[in-house]
Symmetry: C2
Subunit: 205 residues, 2 copies
């Protein structure tokens, strides 16, 4: 019972912190405002997270856990699905929105060797290796370079989509990235099989 | 004479503002500190730039003017050269460093329809169209999508290179982007001709 209550409080704090970070960024966020938003005491926040740094680090480092594609898939389709799911979820998930906002302040609270770029690239890499085993990739494709390129392109798309449209067109931008990239990465038969549009990655209503 | 002095002052203000923005970002920058750094009066700053917004807008919107590849080139090689030149110059040019830092705060001072992403994509587009006329591109390549992808990937690479290495490895990251991307975009004969490494874009010593 006690454990359950502690977990509920922790989740409420993470959600409140996400909204605070999303609106004010890391530098502008205040832990006491987070406590107010979560409806808990300042002591309760600090019980779970010793500092604002810890809170931000938790939210950024757990981003990939929140992105679970609605369709089963593997290999190259899985890589595509993860990026599209992230793009759709970013439209209304405060934890992902906080992650997107915090990415450019992460030097304040993340160790450089555990940054969000490496996290995401590390998540995509096993699926790209699976794609290679499945003979979906062109000969000589450097899977680590492709993982980094996908993360870079999605990061840039996220930033620019935010500036222009508050992320509303992000799924379309990510689809466009894949339409350009697939011919570089996939053998023609695999490129033809990959599903992109029509709400791939969009959660079922 | 008077005109010349005014131009020198303006250039000193832009340089001082670049250093201030680079270190403190848009929100943290102060116009009076910029005046101090430039060794001019606050009135002199405001004579050239009515507000901090105007200063930031000037620096961001003129970024492409500062990036002039050291080699003559055209078509796809020009697109590559512009991105590599930008990557090398970012290592020690405060105006470009300020531009990189301001990109994620631009909603505070740029109109959304005149954002840095569109500026850069607009700069690359005519060269990509030239590449198409030169038959360097694969049939069916969407040049506008490619321009956006290149800008997105460079933006993401810039951010992550900053977090991990204070931009020191940016030229290598941009080279890597092109090694992945060329097979998607260029016909094989053109892809083979494109020069990438060995300081393409690096200014002559």
């Amino acid at each position: 019972m006690k454990q359950e209550r502690a977990e509920r409080t922790r989740a409420a704090v993470v959600l409140a912190a996400s909204e605070e970070f999303k609106e004010r960024g890391f530098a502008g966020a205040s832990v006491s405002r987070i406590a107010d938003r979560a409806g808990v005491t300042l002591g309760a926040v600090y019980f779970h997270f010793p500092s604002k740094n810890e809170l931000a680090r938790d939210i950024v480092s757990r981003q990939p856990d929140f992105v679970v594609p609605p369709h089963p898939s593997h290999g190259l389709q899985r890589v595509v699905d993860v990026t599209l799911t992230w793009a759709y979820q970013l439209l209304d998930d405060p934890v992902l929105q906080a992650g997107a906002r915090l990415v450019w302040e992460q030097e304040r609270f993340m160790e450089p060797e555990r940054n969000s770029h490496d996290q995401w690239a590390g998540l995509l890499l096993p699926e790209l290796r699976a794609a290679r085993r499945l003979r979906e990739l062109r000969t000589g494709t450097d899977v680590e370079a492709v993982a980094r390129l996908v993360v870079n392109a999605c990061t840039g798309a996220q930033m620019h989509s935010y500036v222009e449209a508050r992320h509303r067109d992000l799924p379309q931008r990510v689809e466009e990235i894949w339409r350009c990239l697939l011919p570089a990465v996939a053998v023609p038969s695999a490129a033809r099989r990959i599903e992109l549009g029509a709400g791939r990655g969009r959660p079922a209503p």
